[in-house]
């Protein structure tokens, strides 16, 4: 009767059952159950997306606060990304998690997070969105601290508290928005009635900034980015992949929802908030790249990269221009697939070799050629070399940045993006170089093929292909999006 709830509730309930069930399951059974759950959920999501009736009021929290779901284009993009990454990473995990304890707990929370993410994508008003945003934090932090080492637990807590901090900052905004809007339902173009010049409006600008900061935490924006580089290396690789590819995107989704669906771009355009946001985004872009460039540990390097790349998206959002927004959305997908792949590859490397630092990985390309080829391809994508997805999204971002009505940032923005792309090359390609060209002193006799298990390579391969496909056929997506982007801006 409420089909829209199915992709949300099914994985959550499945995950809860896994958690509550006290006895240990046999590993095969466990992975079988989890895998089928993942697939079923994916199917459910797709079928729900195809549904005719796309909104549902579940019940009312208070008199005027409904729990409300609706599906629009943004939901589609994000839920597709979610499904792909979660299913891939999930299958990858079946191989990867062999060497971890308490798999059942991992899968349980993984499923819950999946469901919650679906809920987040389908959320139709700010309260529902906030509900799932909190739940997302709560269900994903066990993934981070799963390994149970002290660093992992600390990282998990750090993730938790940073996220909650952000969530509460935005809750502050929600309180005020509720008073100044009739409803909190997401409506393209915004629902705020106040003008930015009025006293209320000026305060609302402050509120908007707070919310940007708050949701920006999830998206790893500058002042509150520090949880990302801590959480990623500590989490198991599939969890990192999901985290970096999808969960941090929840922050992006949140910002899109709040800025474009509640405040409305017009409200913020040209205000100090936009300037500040742009500044922060660009600072983060540059800083993330620099830090990644200096970082020897592979997963941490990727984490910094995530910080940087996410702010590409935020930059695109902050420009408030159609092209830039489009670029941002494309980058959501491209970065999602690419970064997911990269983390999975890093996981595969750690799983097979046990090495974490880049400088230890001499000749890895000889040992795991398929994996490293994938690595090289997606790296190029992230750098923005055509014909990969990264190129298209960065193109749009740059175009938008240059065209946008953003004063001096019109020049600074693209410049920073370019420099950062250069740095991206600088931190991603050395592994390729080292891996394939280990140098003269590499002992070829000791070389042995160590290609990881199929459960690992297939998801990697799948996502690599996807990332390339986006670059090859961006029109499908842009066509799909153009109309509704113009309705937003």
């Amino acid at each position: 009767m409420y089909p829209i709830l199915l992709p949300i509730l099914f994985p959550i309930l499945a995950g809860l059952c896994l958690l509550v069930y006290r006895k240990d399951l046999e590993r095969k059974l466990l992975t079988g159950i989890t895998g089928s759950c993942l697939v079923i959920t994916g199917a459910l999501v797709i079928s729900v997306l195809a549904l005719a009736k796309k909104s549902l009021i579940l019940f009312y929290l208070t008199e005027t606060l409904p729990i409300y779901f609706q599906i629009d284009e943004i939901s589609v993009i994000f839920s597709v990304l979610t499904v792909v990454v979660f299913v891939c990473a999930g299958f990858f995990a079946f191989a990867y998690m062999k060497h971890e304890q308490k798999e059942k707990r991992y899968y349980g929370f993984y499923l819950i997070a999946f469901g919650v993410l679906n809920g987040l994508c389908f959320a139709g008003n700010l309260i529902t969105f906030y509900l799932f945003f909190e739940l997302l934090t709560l269900s994903s932090f066990p993934l981070v601290l799963h390994t149970g080492t002290r660093e992992a637990i600390m990282a998990g807590l750090k993730y938790l508290f940073y996220s909650l901090c952000g969530a509460y900052a935005s809750l502050y905004g929600i309180y005020f928005l509720y008073r100044h809007c009739d409803t909190l339902t997401f409506t393209a173009g915004g629902i705020l009635q106040a003008s930015p010049a009025s006293p209320d409006g000026r305060f609302l600008l402050l509120v908007a900034f707070l919310m940007i900061l708050g949701f920006g935490v999830k998206a790893g924006m500058f002042p509150m980015h520090a949880w990302l580089p801590t959480a990623h290396p500590a989490a198991p690789a599939p969890a990192s992949a999901a985290l970096s590819a999808v969960i941090v995107k929840a922050g992006v989704l949140a910002l899109i929802r709040v800025i474009y669906y509640i405040f409305g771009a017009d409200f913020l355009r040209g205000s100090w908030v936009q300037t500040a946001w742009l500044t922060l985004a660009l600072v983060t872009v540059f800083m993330g790249s620099m830090l990644a460039y200096r970082e020897p540990v592979l997963k941490k390097r990727l984490a910094y990269s995530t910080v940087s790349q996410l702010s590409y998206i935020l930059f695109g959002l902050a420009v408030m221009d159609q092209d830039a927004f489009m670029g941002g959305l494309l980058h959501v997908l491209a970065h999602g697939f690419i970064k997911g792949t990269l983390f999975l590859i890093a996981g595969a490397i750690i799983f097979t070799t046990g090495k974490t630092r880049v400088d230890e990985l001499h000749g890895i390309g000889k040992e795991m050629p398929l994996t490293m080829w994938c690595y090289t391809i997606v790296s190029l994508g992230l750098i923005g070399i055509p014909p990969t997805g990264g190129f298209v999204s960065k193109w749009y971002l740059a175009i938008g940045g240059l065209a946008g009505d953003i004063g001096i940032f019109r020049y600074i923005g693209p410049a920073v993006l370019l420099i950062s792309a250069l740095l991206t090359a600088g931190y991603l390609l050395p592994l390729t170089i080292r891996g394939f060209f280990p140098g003269a002193d590499y002992d070829y006799n000791a070389l042995q093929k160590r290609e990881p298990a199929r459960l690992m390579t297939i998801p990697i391969l799948f996502m690599t292909i996807l990332s390339v496909l986006i670059g090859l056929f961006p029109n499908i997506i842009t066509d799909y999006l153009t109309k509704f982007v113009s309705s937003l801006l």
Partner: protein, 326 residues
């Protein structure tokens, strides 16, 4: 990010902390979130005891008069303020006095109808020639009743303080142990000159006292003064002849009964007169002829009673001070 500094020093710099935060390695607040076990609060049972002992020690120190300089200083300060206060009081009193009615003037508030009536009709209303005696024993007799009881209660307190009683088992009072043995020579020396003069003077003194008492309503004198004179005579006798002699006619019992009867008489007599006065009844006590010995109603008996009490009391005071008993 300066590499010029050695690592340890660099670790202390702000830059290091900033960059380590930037890298997400360290967090100023969250680093402490994971609880370290705190020290369990263990109430020390001895602690309180010790505190109280320390408290006592401090008190000891405080009350160590000779060595406590702060206390000495306080003392001096206290004295200085007291002297200032007294000087202030003196000045205040002098100013006050300078505003009081002039001494010796005939017209001033004091010389009002009250004094006038005492003088003008005192003789006929009380029958006493001595207006003062009439006043204190008739007009304002209640004061005098109280006054004699002041004396009585003072004797009682002196008795409490100084009387050395044996306890039930007949052991001497533990307080005697405190006494310096030399103080216990109660008996005076047999001083011939003293005895001689005393045997000559004591009767005269006592007779003089009796005279004063009996003439209280006629001239200067009265129960208190006469009693004091008799008491002086008794004390002289005691000093000359010692406790042994006086005990033959004056013991505690004597004292007790004399006091009892005198005071009872005083009380009852005055009660009668108060009662009749207040209820506007006629007092049956005759006033007599003014100027005669047997006159002025109750004044003479009262004077006698008071005189007895005072004489005994005076003697009792002396005996108590001297020996702690009769």
């Amino acid at each position: 990010m300066s590499k010029r500094k050695p690592a340890e020093e660099y670790h202390k710099t702000f830059a290091f902390h900033f960059f380590s935060w930037l890298r997400g390695e360290k967090d100023p607040y969250l680093g402490n979130v994971e609880m370290k076990p705190q020290k369990e609060y263990e109430p020390d049972p001895e602690l309180h005891l010790r505190h109280e002992k320390e408290h006592d020690a401090i008190l000891d120190k405080v009350y160590d008069m000779k060595h406590n300089r702060a206390l000495g200083l306080f003392h001096r300060l206290y004295q200085a303020t007291s002297i200032l206060f007294c000087l202030f009081l003196m000045a205040l009193l002098l100013v006050t006095i300078s505003h009081l009615p002039a001494t010796g003037a005939a017209v001033k508030p004091v010389n009002n109808e009250v004094a006038a009536r005492y003088i003008e009709s005192g003789l006929e209303e009380t029958g006493a020639v001595n207006i003062v005696a009439g006043m204190i024993l008739d007009y304002r007799a209640f004061d005098t009743l109280g006054e004699s009881h002041v004396l009585f209660v003072a004797t009682i307190t002196v008795l409490i303080m100084l009387r050395l009683d044996k306890n039930k088992k007949g052991e001497p009072n533990p307080l005697t142990k405190d006494m310096n043995p030399n103080d216990r020579i109660y008996e005076p020396k047999n001083d011939a000159i003293l005895q001689m003069v005393a045997s000559f003077l004591v009767p005269i003194i006592i007779i003089f006292g009796i005279y004063i008492i009996l003439n209280g309503h006629l001239g200067p004198g009265g129960g208190f003064s006469g009693g004091a004179v008799i008491g002086a005579g008794l004390i002289l006798y005691l000093n000359a002849f010692g406790f042994g002699k006086t005990e033959r006619f004056f013991t505690e019992k004597t004292y007790k009964w004399i006091c009892f009867f005198s005071l009872s008489f005083y009380c009852l007599a005055k009660s009668y007169s108060f009662y009749t006065g207040a209820n506007h009844l006629h007092s049956i006590i005759p006033k007599g002829t003014p100027g005669a010995i047997l006159s002025s109603g109750l004044i003479l008996p009262l004077n006698i009673a008071v005189g007895l009490v005072v004489a005994c009391t005076m003697y009792a005071f002396y005996a108590m001070f001297r020996k702690g008993g009769f």
